[in-house]
Structures are given as C-alpha cells and as structure tokens.
Symmetry: C2
Subunit: 456 residues, 2 copies
C-alpha cells in the first residue's frame, strides 16, 4: 500500500465524520430561512481548512451568502492552484421521498445518502482532505487557494462582484473544480464543456379571483389553459425550440466532432433503466448524448395554478405559474436568450390575460481545450489511479461561474468530477459512493504533481 | 308593513345568529379531516328544523357524509314540497386571500362574508326560516320535507343510493332548491337549465425520480412539458374541444332560442369589471351568455408538478398532475364523456411517459320547462316581492343531483336562487348580501301559496 492509500485507510472514519458535520448544516441557498445556516457552513469550512493546514482562512461577506477564502502560500514564485467549490445545496423537497432524512447523512450500500453528499459538499471535501494529506507529508508542490461560495445553486449572483473586487487575491494559474460527474464508475472523465442556462419564472394572470368554473367556464379565459398553450407552443413537433432567434448563435458541431462523441461509452438501455423510463425523447436528428452535450434544451422545472389539493374544487383559477429553464450551448448568451424568451412569451398571450416573467438565474456555457497543460495533468492523474485514460466529455449541466472566471480572472477551470449520474443530485436520495470519495482524495494530489511538472 | 316583513324585522338578528352557528362549522366535504364537522353540521340543522316546527328530523348515515331529513306532514292528502339543499362547502384555500377568516362570519358592507354564506348554507337557511314563519302563523298550505345532504360539492356520491332506498319517504310533488344565482340584484331569475359535469384528475409519469435538468434536459421526456402539450391540444384555435365524439350528443340551440337568450339583461362591460379582466374569450361564434349557458366548456381547475416553491430548482420533474373538468350541456352523458376523455388523453401521450386518469366527480345537465306549474308559482312569488317578473335563465353551473332526482324520484326541481354572481362562491371572500337573504325568506312562502293554488 502506498503512502496516500495508507493515509486514507488510517483516517477514513475521521474524514467521514468531518464531512458529515458539514452536510448536517442545511445550507439551502434559495431559501431565506436558511440564512444562518449559510454562515455556519462557511465557518465550518474555515475551521476545516485551518485544521488541514491553510495559513489563513476568512469568511468574507457578500451581498448574498458569504464566500470562504483560504490559502497556503509556500513560495510566491511557484504556481497557484485555486480550488473552487460551493457549500450551498439544492432544496431537499419533496421530503417524503427520502429514505433517510436529507440532512442526516447515512451510510448504506457503500454510499453516503444526504443532500449535498455529492453536490458539492462531498466533492469539495475531497479537496480539503487531499490538501491536508499534501501538507502533512510536506509534498505540496505549489501554492493553493480555496474559494468556496454559497450561491452556486442560485446562479452565483454575488461571485462576479467578489472576483472583480478580489482579483489580486485570487490570482492563480489554474482553477480546479470537482462539481461534475464521471461517465461511469469505471470510466474516468474530464468535463470539457458545460451548457449555459436561462432560468425564468412566469405568471399568467386572469380574473382577479378564482371563479366558479360552472358559472364562468367557457366565457372567461382560464390562465392555466392559456399557460399550457403558451408552453406547448415553445417547441415544435421535432422538439426544436420555437422562440424566434433562439438558434442564431448556436454553433453546429462538425460531423467529425459528432463522430468523436459517438465513440464515448454510453449504454442507452442502461441509461433508461437507471432513470426508470421506457423511452427517451428530444430534438429530432440527435443522439441522447448530443441532446444533452451539444444541443440546447427547454424544461418546465415547475408548474402550478388553481386547486392542487385533495378532491374536486370546481374553480377557474385566477393565476397560473411556471418555472421554465433553457440549457444553452457555448456561444449562446443567456442574457440575450432571457430577452428573447420574455418578449416571445408575452406575445403568445391572448388578450384577457396578463403575463409577468422574471429571470431567476443564468450563466454562459464553457469549453475546455484538451491540449491545455491542466487537461494533460488531470489525464495523467486519472490514469495512475484508475488504470485508464479519462474520456473528454461535454456535460449537459451548467456551472455559470466557470465562464465568468475566464472573463474576470482570465484563468481556465479544469473540471475533475468524481460523481456518478446515479448520485441523484438535485433529487431525493442524493448519494455519493464512498469509493468515489476516497478515489478523489487519492487522485487530486497527483493532479498537483503533474500540473507543476507540466507548468515548469 | 305586512306580516312576513314584520316577522323578519323582529327576528332578523336571531336569524343571523342561527345561520352563523352553522357557518362556523367548517364542513368541507372533500377533506377527510372534516369528517366530524360534517356530522356536527347535520346535527345543527336537525335542531334548527325541529325548533322551526318540523314533526321529526333525522341525521341519516350514508356511505359518505350523513343526510339530514326532516318533515312536517299537516295532511297526507295535500301536496308535498321537498326542500333540497346542502350543508357541505368548498375548501376555503387559499386562506391568505380572505379579508376575514372563512369560518368566522362577519357583516361588512351589508353582506355576510364567509365560506358557505351563499353556497349553500345561507340559501338553505332561508328555507328553514320561511318554514318557521309559515308554521308559527299557521299558514303552511301543504306538507314539507327537507333533504339536506353533505356531499354536493364532491358530486353527491351517496345521494343516488339514498334516494333509491328512501323513495317512499321522499315522495313529493316538487323539489324546491335555492342553490343558484339571480342575473342581477334587480333581476330575479329562475334557473331553467344547468350544465352537466365531468371532472377528472390526471397524472403524467416520467422518470422515476426528479432529475437534474442540465444533465438530462433535452434527452429525457419532461412530464410537465408533455402535460402542457396534451392539455393544449384539447382545444383548437376556435376554442372548440377536440376530443373525438365530444359534440356528438350536443343539441344545438335553435336561432329562436338564441334570440330569446340575447334578450336577457347582460352587461358585458360590467361582467368584465366584476371579475377584473380586460377581455373575455371562449368558443368562436357564441356570446358569453351562450358560452356558459348552452355550450360545453373545458377548464383546468388545477395543475402542479416539479418545483413550486421559492427560487430556482433545476430539475426535470418526475411527474405532472392536473385536475381538468368539462361542463356539459343537457343530453350529453358525463359517463360517456369521462370515457372519451380518458381514452383520448391517453392517446396524446408520447412513448416514454405513462398516463393515469381517474374520474373525481360528475353529473348530468338539466332543463326545466317554463310552462310547469312550479315555474308559474315561482314567477308569481318573485313578481310579488321584487315587483317584476323573473327571467328564465340557463346557468353554466352544475347540480348533478337535480337530474338524478328526476330519474330516481320522477319529480322536477324548481331552482329559485337568491345569490348574486358577485357572491364569489367557491372563491376567497365568498359573501351573501343581507338584502338577498331576507328577500328569500320573504319570497319562499309565496311560492308555497301559489304552488298549492296551481296544483289544486
């Protein structure tokens, strides 16, 4: 057994205990009732990083939730790796679908079950422990900075300003992030693309109060009926998005690129089984992996209106609501798409209803070149611990801040995700395999080693 | 001041106190948590009717909520008027929109504000007090029976069986009902038609859990996207219902009938203002009063799926739900429409989702002939107290039990409603003007008087 494996073996229970302490703090960034928890989670990480060997660590206030900044500068002439992560989590609702309480982590079947077990508390804690290992054996090959925010799940509204204000402090050579997934347990992968996001909430407003659906039904425009028509019309029979101008900035992938993508290991039957559906769907002319990797998409994330409780209430609802988001591909601007959506959606409403749409969240897509030194370093690290070269992979997810880092700090981010698609992030029963957690801790120090070698 | 007006004047506060006692019981039939309240409301009416002069009154159990039956038989050879009403009410949600608590009646601006103030506690209580008046002055001209059920708002599932089992006990010459509205405060009207109802709840089932909308969006069929397409397709660009066979049994109104309907006083501008909309809508080629009176309609009464709370949760929901109801015109069968809907709706779903639809509630439409003795009696009664002849009116609402009475008991029901459209029944801030409440008590005894004259 080599040095890192022995260190993990000797400390594995403590690592979990420490991670569990962080998970138990219900740091749900989208809910105002959790404001105090956000502060607690940041403070918890501050202690963790100081214990792990940081020279200094600060909980820095922002207009929203605080950012945890920490650093260890061993030699100002050496390169700097900046670790980015987030301590905030998605809401855990619906609670009744969880097999164990979302904020009370439990080990079952070799996995940690809890909100944030993977996204992103579990994954960012791998970095804290890998850092601790390198410090304690005095093998840290460069300077390290940590920037852990509390608003990733709501679109990082304060982090742009934070980065601009602290550009000097955040100077670095590469940003290292574990907030993505591997293609499969045995298929290490490096995320080389992310989609952008436009997330809006809309309200269709009809009569000033709920009406009796018998006395008024047929003569008064029903906002829910209308909303369904408006949403339905946003895609055509080929599942292409009908918003005028929507595809204007989409760069079509070349036949060569699509050929390369088709080589990635992807088992459609296993994919369907994993999520419990008999069939997939999506834009005509593209494979499933292309539909999430290189094509934009539109999803209703939530819809509500009228009587949603038990029984039959015969009302014509006064209002109808939906949360609608679009995933964008690199080169689409989320701001532009927001505007196109709002204008088009309003134009779909018949007279007799009003429409109010607001932007909740957004960010741009991202591409990482496979010949970058950080890509090569990550590839060597994976190869050493997994026994095989990682696969470059365009993810369907969005980490809006990644493209912002490039704009503001001028630095690329290498996305070394150790999660699995079966981790059910954003869903009930989120989980993270212990194997992946420890594998991450084992792989990360090798990235540092090879990155410094490549950078020299 | 004549005898009835003096009686009302002398007793008006007591009448309200007694009605308020009934309103304070939150007898919401659709919610299992109110089971005990249903029994209490029936018992309350039992006492009220015994106090008012009934010979006997019984709370009779059914498979659902109990029926209150009471009678006063003054001479078995005389005709029998059977008063029908219901003590159950619609749910009061959303509570936050009420200006005063729904089950704590309050008098403001000359109106009673509470759930059930009009529908139907206020209106049925007029009959209890009119009966009390006739008994106390010994001017009751015939026998009277009361049948007050507790399941009208959920489609009267137990009353058919109850009527069949008690057909002898319920024998009568006319059924008298106040559960409808007048066209306007100064326009007394008799409801000569009701629409039928098919009320269904449907669920579209996609992946087995909520998925991350980035990782899966575009490749996995989103049940909410699908549900909006399915609902949207149920009506065409003329707002006609597209379910195959839906209009097969609809009897088109003759030009003559439509001409008569167009004479009814109906102020579109006032109607729009009353409900706070700038425009109406509905089936092309029909007026607003026709769209609710003689044409079927389809309304989503409720819709829900995915994240409906605060903030931006980026999920692709696992399921989507809707409550959808259709108002039917006489001659359409709600059972047949249920079946047509279920079959058609299922056929709209793409592979990759499952659809489950169940019937929640239903009933048939109804027509009352304007040359019936009860119509003539009601007309004379209104003329005497309102100073003008009432207008025959086809209501858009449904009282499924009315057509069932005709089938099971072979008796017509005369619909003498004293409510107003502004009473906001089924909505927050339901109310009932005191003027209408007392006017009802004044008018009802005259119906008895003229009906016996006509019947003799």
């Amino acid at each position: 057994m080599n040095q890192i494996n022995k260190y993990i073996e000797d400390n594995k229970d403590r690592f979990l205990d420490e991670l569990f302490g962080l998970i138990r703090i219900p740091s749900v960034s989208s809910k105002s009732e959790h404001r105090a928890d956000m502060q607690s989670a940041a403070e918890y990480l501050k202690s963790s990083l100081l214990d792990a060997g940081a020279d200094k660590a600060q909980v820095i206030p922002t207009d929203g939730h605080p950012v945890l900044y920490a650093e260890k500068i061993i030699d100002p002439s050496l390169p700097v790796v900046l670790v980015y992560g987030h301590y905030d989590v998605q809401p855990a609702e619906p609670f009744e679908l969880w097999k164990s309480p979302p904020f009370e982590p439990e080990i079952r079947q070799g996995r940690i079950w809890a909100r944030g077990a993977d996204d992103d508390k579990g994954q960012l804690f791998m970095h804290v422990k890998a850092f601790e290992y390198m410090v304690s054996f005095d093998i840290l090959p460069c300077n390290v900075k940590f920037m852990i925010e509390g608003e990733e799940e709501i679109g990082s509204p304060s982090l742009g300003k934070f980065c601009r204000a602290n550009a000097d402090k955040l100077k670095c050579d590469i940003i290292l992030v574990s907030d993505t997934s591997m293609i499969g347990k045995d298929v290490p992968s490096i995320t080389t693309g992310l989609r952008g996001l436009s997330y809006l909430e809309t309200e269709v407003i009809g009569p000033e109060r709920d009406l009796h659906s018998g006395l008024y039904g047929g003569a008064v425009i029903n906002p829910v009926n209308v909303l369904t028509k408006m949403i339905a019309s946003l895609t055509d029979e080929k599942n292409r998005i009908t918003i005028p101008g929507f595809y204007d900035d989409v760069l079509e992938a070349s036949p060569k690129e699509r050929e390369e993508m088709a080589k990635a290991p992807f088992d459609v039957e296993r994919y369907k089984k994993q999520i419990g559906v008999e069939d997939l769907g999506g834009e005509a002319g593209y494979s499933a992996i292309e539909r999430t990797g290189i094509r934009p998409s539109i999803d209703v994330n939530g819809i509500w209106g009228g009587h949603t409780g038990e029984g039959a209430k015969t009302i014509l609802p006064s209002t109808a609501h939906a949360k609608i988001s679009m995933r964008l591909v690199p080169n689409q601007s989320s701001k532009k798409i927001d505007e196109l959506f709002i204008r088009h959606f309003k134009s779909l409403a018949p007279p007799g209803v009003k429409v109010r749409t607001k932007v909740l969240h957004g960010g741009e897509g991202y591409v990482f070149p496979v010949d970058h030194p950080a890509y090569l370093a990550a590839s060597l690290a994976y190869e050493e611990t997994f026994g095989k070269k990682p696969v470059p992979f365009r993810s369907g997810g969005s980490i809006p801040i990644i493209s912002l880092f490039e704009q503001v700090l001028g630095v690329k981010s290498i996305l070394m995700g150790f999660g699995l698609e079966s981790d059910a992030i954003h869903s009930p029963n989120e989980n993270f395999p212990l194997w992946n957690f420890y594998k991450g801790i084992e792989t990360i120090p090798l990235f540092y080693k090879y990155f410094i070698e490549k950078a020299e």
